[in-house]
C-alpha cells in the first residue's frame, strides 16, 4: 500500500504522461516555512485550480482514508521544468495542526486546453477535521481551498477496536503499522484463515491490485480485531488448484509475503498437474478436510473468497462431527460497483470554500466492474450452500462497513482464552495429519535419547529411503509435464562475463520480461541409471537424448530420479549439517552438500551438442521427524563458455505420491532456472503424474516412433505412400490452447481420399482416421498464442500406417505475369522455424482459443 498523489491529464489532450507523486508529512524542520506559505498565500498571484475533497471513508483495513483531487488548466504550465507543490494543513478539532505536502515536477506540457489533475490521500483517526489546502507552482502562483471532514464509525464499527488513535493524521506508507495484537490478555485460541486469492473479475489474468489490497487490508484487520494465540493462514487459488502461501503463526509481518504471493500468481500460468486435472476443483475441499483433521483443530476457520470465484466440489462430504469442533465462517466478497465503494464516495460533504478555488464535492475512483448481479439478487453459491449444511455462517462483504460488521459478529461468537495453547507441530498440507509432538530435549550424557532427531540418523534414513526407491523406480514410468518460460533482460542482451552476471544477480533480482511460455508433455522412465524419454503416450521410448526430442529451448533431465540419486550414490559424499529452519510452519533440518566435478554425473550439453560434466552443490531440507525429503536445491558450478548458460539452479519440492499402489518419492513441484550467458534466463516448471508400473502387457522398448504393427500393415497392404500427394485432414477433436502441451495426441480424419495420382489408385479412403501430435504449444509476450502439430499415422484396416506429411505452403492464386514474374505481391509469408518444416503452425487469438473440430488443413506427402 502506498500513498499516492497522481498527476494526470484530463480532457482530450493526452500528450502528457501521468505522473505518480507521494504525499507525506512535512518534516518538523519545514513546518515554520510551511506556515509562512499559508500566511503569505493571500498576497500571491492566483493559480487557477479546482479542489474536490474526498471525504473520509472506511477501508478494509478499518482505517479512514481521505484526500483531495485538484484539477488545473495545463495552459498555465506550458513548457518544461515546471513543478507544483500541494500543502495541506489538517487540524483535528481541539488539536494542533498537522502538515502534509509534496512537490511534483511536471513533465513537458505542450500547448493544450486540457486540465492536469493531482490527487492525494492520507489517513485519519475517528474525529472531525478542518483542512486548508494550498497549491503553488514554480511561478509562485497560488490556489487555496478549505473544507471539513468527519471520520465517524457507524453501526457495528463502533464495537470494533479503533485502528488508529482518534484525531490522528497519518500518511499512507508501505511500512504502515498493521495491527499487532496487544501482548497478554485474552485471545482466541486458534484461528485459521483460508483465503482464495482470485481476481474480482473472473476473466482477469491476475489478481487486481485493488483486490490484492482489499485482501491484504482484510487480513490486517482480522489480526487486529480477532486477536488469536495462533493464526494459521493458507492462501490458495482454485483455478490453479494450488496453495500459494501458508504459514502457521501468521503475523502482520508476513503480510508482504501474502501480497507477493498474490502478485506473482498468474492465472494464465497453471501448474502442470492442474493441466492434467483441469476439471477437478478440489483444493478447497481438501483444505477444509485437512483443517478438520488437524491435531488441534482451530477455534474458528474463516474462508475469504471473491464470491464470483468460489467453487466447491458438490460431492464433498466432511465428517460432521469433526466439522463441529470448529466454528466456520464464510466471507464472500462481492463489492457491487467498486472494490472501494465508500472510500472516495462522499460520506461527508465539503463544508467550506474560500472562493479562490472551485469546489466540487464529487469524488471519483474508477470502478472495478464485478461479475454478477448485486448482493441480494445472487443465489447462494456452492460454498454458501455447503456452509448452510454444516451450520456455518455466511457473512457477505460488499463494503468495508459490511466487513467490519462481519468481524464484529465473528468476534462476538468466539471464546477467548488467557493462556497460549500448547505447541503443536502441524502437519504439512501434503501429508496425513500426525499426532501432536513435543520437541525432544537433549538429555545429559548417559541419559536416554530419542535418536530419531539425530541429524546424521535423519540423513541416513533419508539416504536409505532414496536408495530403496531407486531400486524400485526403474520399473515405473511417469508423465512429465513441463512449463517453460523464457525471459529476456528488459534492457536488452548483456555482454558481461558470467562472474559479473552471477555477482549482480546475487545482489539483486535482474529486470526481466517474459518472452515466451510453452508446455511439453513427455513419458519418462529410468533405465541403466539414466532417464529415458518419449512423447507422452508414444509406443516406444526414444534412444535419442531429450534435447533431440525437444530441440528448442532449455530443458534438463534428472528431475525424475537421477539428480537426487546422484547426491546419495556418491561413495564419499560430504554433507554438512547447516542447522534447523522453519519453512511454512515446518521445522526442517538443512544439510549442504557439494559434489566436485571429478565425482559428478551432472551433465550439461554444449552448444556443439557435446556433453560436459559439471560439479554442483546444494542443500537438502528434511523433516526431522519423518526423515522425508521436503526440498532439494542444486546449483551447478559456473558452466564453461561452451554452454549457453552460466549456471543452472534447480529447486525440487519433494513428497511421497501414492499412485497405483506404489509410493513414489517424486518432486511435487520443480523449478529449474537456466541463467543465460547474455542475461537471458529460462525457467522450467515440471510436474509428474500418471506414474505406473510396467505391467505384463506393457514393455519398455526402444526404437522408432511408429507403431510396429503399422510397418507390417504397410508391407501387407503394399501401401507405400509416394511423395507429393495431396491430403486434406479434418480435425475430429477440438484442440484447446489452454491445458494443452506439446506431446499431446490429436485426432483427425482424411477429408478426402489419399490418392496416388501417378498410379491412379486410392491409398487411403476418405474418413480414414489420422493420429498426430502437438509439437509446440507456446505463448509469446507479443500476445501470440501458437500451436504446432504434425500427423503421424493413418489407420487402414484397423492398423496404423506411418504417415509423412508436410503442410501445403503453396500460396493460392499465384499466377505468373506475362513477363514471367510472380503477379501477387504483399503476400505475408511465415517461414517455419528450423525443425518445424513438417508441422502446421496456427496462431490463436488468446489462451481461451481453440482449433475447432472440423478444421481442415492441406498437406502433402513426403518421403519418410
Amino acid at each position: 500500500m502506498r500513498a499516492v498523489a497522481a498527476l494526470r491529464v484530463t480532457g482530450l489532450t493526452v500528450a502528457i504522461c501521468a505522473v505518480t507523486t507521494a504525499q507525506s508529512l512535512v518534516e518538523p524542520g519545514q513546518i515554520a516555512a510551511t506556515e509562512d506559505r499559508f500566511a503569505s498565500a493571500v498576497r500571491a498571484a492566483r493559480l487557477r485550480c479546482s479542489f474536490s475533497p474526498i471525504q473520509a471513508s472506511l477501508g478494509y483495513d478499518l482505517e479512514y482514508q481521505t484526500g483531495y483531487r485538484i484539477t488545473f488548466p495545463l495552459s498555465q504550465e506550458v513548457g518544461t521544468g515546471h513543478e507544483v507543490t500541494v500543502l495541506l494543513r489538517v487540524i483535528p478539532d481541539g488539536r494542533a495542526p498537522v502538515y502534509l505536502g509534496k512537490t511534483e515536477a511536471l513533465p513537458e506540457v505542450p500547448v493544450t486546453k486540457a486540465d492536469g489533475e493531482l490527487t492525494g490521500n492520507f489517513l485519519v483517526g475517528e474525529g472531525s477535521y478542518s483542512l486548508d489546502a494550498l497549491v503553488h507552482d514554480d511561478a509562485k502562483r497560488v490556489c487555496t481551498s478549505k473544507w471539513r471532514i468527519q471520520a465517524k464509525p457507524s453501526g457495528g464499527e463502533r464495537e470494533l477496536k479503533p485502528s488508529a488513535p482518534p484525531s490522528s493524521v497519518r500518511e499512507i506508507s508501505s511500512q504502515q503499522a498493521m495491527g499487532a495484537p496487544a501482548q497478554g490478555g485474552s485471545r482466541i485460541e486458534r484461528l485459521t484463515i483460508l483465503l482464495h486469492a482470485a481476481p474480482a473479475r473472473p476473466q482477469a489474468a491476475k489478481v487486481e491490485q485493488a483486490t490484492a489490497t482489499m485482501f491484504e487490508h482484510s487480513l490486517a484487520s482480522i489480526l487486529n480485531q480477532l486477536p488469536a494465540w495462533s493464526v494459521r493462514l493458507v492462501v490458495f487459488n482454485l483455478n490453479q488448484q494450488a496453495v500459494l502461501f501458508q504459514k502457521d503463526d501468521f503475523t502482520a509481518a508476513d503480510l508482504p509475503r501474502v501480497a507477493e504471493a498474490m502478485e506473482q500468481m498468474e492465472l494464465a500460468r497453471v501448474d502442470v498437474r492442474t493441466l492434467q486435472n483441469r476439471h477437478k476443483v478440489d483444493v478447497l475441499s481438501d483444505l477444509i478436510d485437512k483443517e478438520t483433521r488437524q491435531a488441534k483443530p482451530a477455534t474458528a476457520v474463516i474462508l475469504m473468497a471473491p464470491r464470483s470465484a468460489a467453487h466447491l466440489d458438490p460431492s464433498f462430504q466432511p465428517d460432521p462431527q469433526q466439522m463441529a469442533v470448529s466454528r466456520w465462517f464464510y466471507l464472500p466478497y462481492h463489492p457491487a460497483t467498486s472494490l472501494m465503494p465508500q472510500r472516495f464516495g462522499g460520506r461527508g460533504m465539503a463544508s467550506g470554500d474560500d472562493g479562490t478555488g472551485d469546489m466540487s464535492p464529487h469524488g471519483r475512483q474508477g470502478p472495478i466492474p464485478m461479475a454478477g448481479p448485486p448482493l441480494g439478487a445472487q443465489p447462494a453459491d456452492a460454498v454458501e450452500q455447503f456452509y448452510k449444511r454444516i451450520k456455518g455462517e455466511t457473512l457477505s462483504v460488499g463494503t468495508p462497513h459490511e466487513f467490519a460488521e462481519a468481524l464484529r459478529r465473528i468476534s462476538a461468537e468466539l471464546p477467548a482464552v488467557k493462556a497460549a495453547p500448547a505447541p503443536v507441530v502441524s502437519a504439512p498440507l501434503s501429508a496425513e495429519p500426525k499426532p501432536p509432538a513435543v520437541e525432544p530435549t537433549e538429555p545429559p550424557a548417559g541419559g536416554e535419547l530419542g535418536v530419531q532427531e539425530n541429524p546424521v540418523e535423519v540423513l541416513m534414513r533419508l539416504r536409505d529411503r532414496v536408495l530403496e526407491h531407486a531400486r524400485k523406480v526403474p520399473n515405473h514410468i511417469c508423465v512429465e509435464t513441463v512449463e517453460r518460460q523464457r525471459f529476456e533482460p528488459v534492457v536488452g542482451r548483456l555482454h558481461k562475463s558470467c562472474e559479473a552476471l552471477l555477482d549482480a544477480r546475487s545482489r539483486s533480482a535482474p529486470s526481466l520480461r517474459r518472452d515466451s511460455t510453452d508446455w511439453l508433455r513427455l513419458d519418462v522412465g529410468l533405465a541403466d541409471n539414466h532417464e529415458i524419454f518419449s512423447w507422452a503416450g508414444a509406443a516406444h521410448f526414444e534412444e535419442r537424448d531429450l534435447d533431440e526430442i525437444v530441440p528448442e529451448g532449455a530443458i534438463g533431465t534428472g528431475l525424475f530420479a537421477t539428480l537426487l540419486l546422484s547426491v546419495f550414490e556418491n561413495r564419499n559424499p560430504h554433507y554438512q549439517f547447516a542447522g534447523e529452519e522453519t519453512v511454512d510452519g515446518r521445522r526442517l533440518f538443512t544439510y549442504s552438500f557439494k559434489v566436485p566435478q571429478a565425482e559428478s554425473h551432472y551433465r550439461v550439453k554444449t552448444r556443439q551438442k557435446d556433453w560436459i560434466v559439471t560439479g554442483y552443490e546444494g542443500e537438502l531440507l528434511v523433516n526431522p521427524r519423518t526423515a522425508e525429503l521436503v526440498r532439494i536445491n542444486v546449483r551447478t558450478d559456473q558452466l564453461p563458455d561452451s554452454t549457453s548458460s552460466c549456471e543452472i539452479d534447480t529447486v525440487m519440492e519433494y513428497g511421497i505420491v501414492p499412485l497405483d499402489g506404489f509410493d513414489y518419492l517424486l518432486p511435487q513441484s520443480t523449478r529449474q532456472r537456466f541463467i543465460g550467458r547474455e542475461g537471458d534466463e529460462a525457467e522450467n516448471r515440471t510436474g509428474f503424474a500418471s506414474c505406473r508400473e510396467y505391467r505384463g502387457e506393457s514393455t519398455l522398448t526402444f526404437g522408432g516412433s511408429a507403431d510396429a504393427k503399422g510397418g507390417a500393415a504397410r508391407n501387407r497392404l503394399g501401401v507405400a505412400l509416394p511423395a507429393g500427394q495431396a491430403a486434406v485432414i479434418e480435425l475430429t477433436k477440438a484442440i484447446a490452447f489452454q491445458g494443452s502441451a506439446a506431446g499431446d495426441p490429436i485426432e483427425g480424419r482424411l477429408a478426402g481420399p489419399l490418392r496416388d495420382t501417378q498410379r491412379d489408385v486410392t491409398l487411403a479412403p476418405q474418413g480414414a482416421k489420422v493420429v498426430g501430435r502437438l509439437m509446440r504449444v507456446e505463448t509469446r509476450a507479443t500476445g501470440q498464442y501458437s500451436i504446432a502439430l504434425r500427423w503421424e499415422t493413418v489407420e487402414l484396416d484397423g492398423m496404423k500406417v506411418p504417415l509423412s506429411l508436410k503442410p501445403n505452403r503453396a500460396i493460392p492464386d499465384l499466377r505468373r505475369s506475362p513477363q514471367g514474374t510472380l503477379q501477387r505481391r504483399g503476400v505475408e509469408i511465415e517461414l517455419p522455424r528450423a525443425g518445424e518444416e513438417h508441422y502446421a503452425v496456427y496462431h490463436l487469438t488468446g489462451k481461451d482459443s481453440r482449433l475447432e473440430a472440423g478444421l481442415r488443413t492441406e498437406w502433402v506427402t513426403i518421403e519418410p
Binding site: N454, P455, D528, N529, P573, Q576, I612
Partner: protein
Amino acid sequence: MGHHRTLIWVPALLGCAWAADRDPAQILSEATAKVAARSASLPHYTCVENVERNFYGPTRATLPRACSILMAQRPDPTFDLSLRLSTTDRLRLDVALVDNGEIYSWAGASHFRDNDSIDKLVRAGPIGTGVFAGLLDVVMLHDVQRFYVRQRQASAGGGWIEYSFRVPTAASHYRVKIGDQWVPVAYSGTVTVDSRTNDVVRLTIDSGELPKAAGLCQIKESVEFGAAEIAGQPFLLPSEVRQGFLNPNGGAVENAIHLTNCREYSAESSIHFGPEESTETTGSAAPLQAVLPEGLHFTLELVSPIDIDRAAAGDNFQARLVHPIHAKKPNLSIPAGAIVEGRLLRVETIHRRPLRVQLALSPRTVQMNGETVLLRGTRDWKTTMDRARINQPVPAILLPLPGENPSGVFEFVGQHVVVPKGFRSEWWSALVETGK
C-alpha cells in the same frame, strides 16, 4: 553327474615348444579328478580371505560410454578413460565351503550365518565369490563342455598346458547379481595345468560384455594356485587372486585377494550356523545376559591403536567406557573402564587431496561384572556439531554406507594413519536387532 566333456585340439594355436610326450586329454582328465578330490575334502577346511580393493575413476569426468567401447579401449585407453586411483579399502572374511557354495562371516566370528551370501556382509563395492573353491569346481566339474588346448610349454622339469573354454549362458553357473537376483552369464577363460603334477596352477575368467542391467560392463578374474600345507597335508589353494570389474562410466575396481590362516576344523572348532548374537563372545566365554537399550550416551576410549596400513574391515577392536552407563530397562549399571569389543566395518583410504582414511567402527559387546552385554552404537554427531558451532567449523557428516548401520564413521587426514590408543569417541546406543 552325466557330464560329458570333449577336448578339442587346435594345433594352430599351440606353442612352439610342443612336445607330445603326454596326452593333453589325459592330463586334463587327471587334473579334473584332482579337483574333484580336493572339492570333496574342502568342507573340512576354512580360510581367512583378505581382500584389498582399489577403486579407480576415469581421469576426466564420467560420461557413460557403451561397454563395447570401454572394453575395446581398456588395453590402450584414451586420456579421458585412463584410470586414477580414488579409493582403497580392505576386508577380512572367513570363508568356508558348504553344499550350496561358499559362505562367509567376518573374520574371527565363530559362526557362519544361515543363508548368508557375501553381499550381505560387504554391501558397498563389487566383490566376487568362488575364490576359495567354487570357481574352479564350477569350471572343471560343472560348466565346461569343451576345452581347447591353447598353449603348451614343455621343459626338463615338466611344463604346462593352457586350455581355453567358453560357456554359454544356458550352461553357466557363473552368476552376477542384477537387482535382487543372481543371474547366470556366459563366460570364457583358460585353465593352466602343470603337466607333471596334473595340478591346476592358473584359472582365468572373462565374463565378456555383461547385460546392461548388471551395472557392470565386464568382470575378469585370475586365480593362481599353489600348494599349501594344512595340518601336515599338502593342499591346492589359491595363492593370488585378482578380480577386475569394469564400470559403464569408465571406472574400474581391482580386487586382490589372498587366503591366509587356512585350517582344518578340529573338535573344538567347527562350522556352526545360527543367529549372530551367539557369536558375540569373541575372546570371552561369558554367557550373554542382557542387551543395552537404545538412546544411551556413552564415550569410548581405544585400548589399543588401529594401524590403518594393517587393519581391514572385519577386524575386532577394543575400547573401554570412559563414563559409566546406567539404564533403567533393563536395569543395567556398567562401570567406567568396562571393556567394549567391536568390529571394523570399513577401512578405507581416499586418494584425493587431502589424502585421508575413513574407519567405520561398530561396537558389539560390553563386559559388565563378568557378563557380556550386547551393544550397538551410532556416532554422536549432535555433540560433535554442537561443540563445533561454538568454536570450530561445522564438520562434514560421514554417513555409514548402506549395510554399515549402526556404526560410527571417523575420518583422519593422512595416508599411513595410526589411530592412537586412547582415542575417544562419543556414541549413542542403538537398537540391537535380533539376528542382525
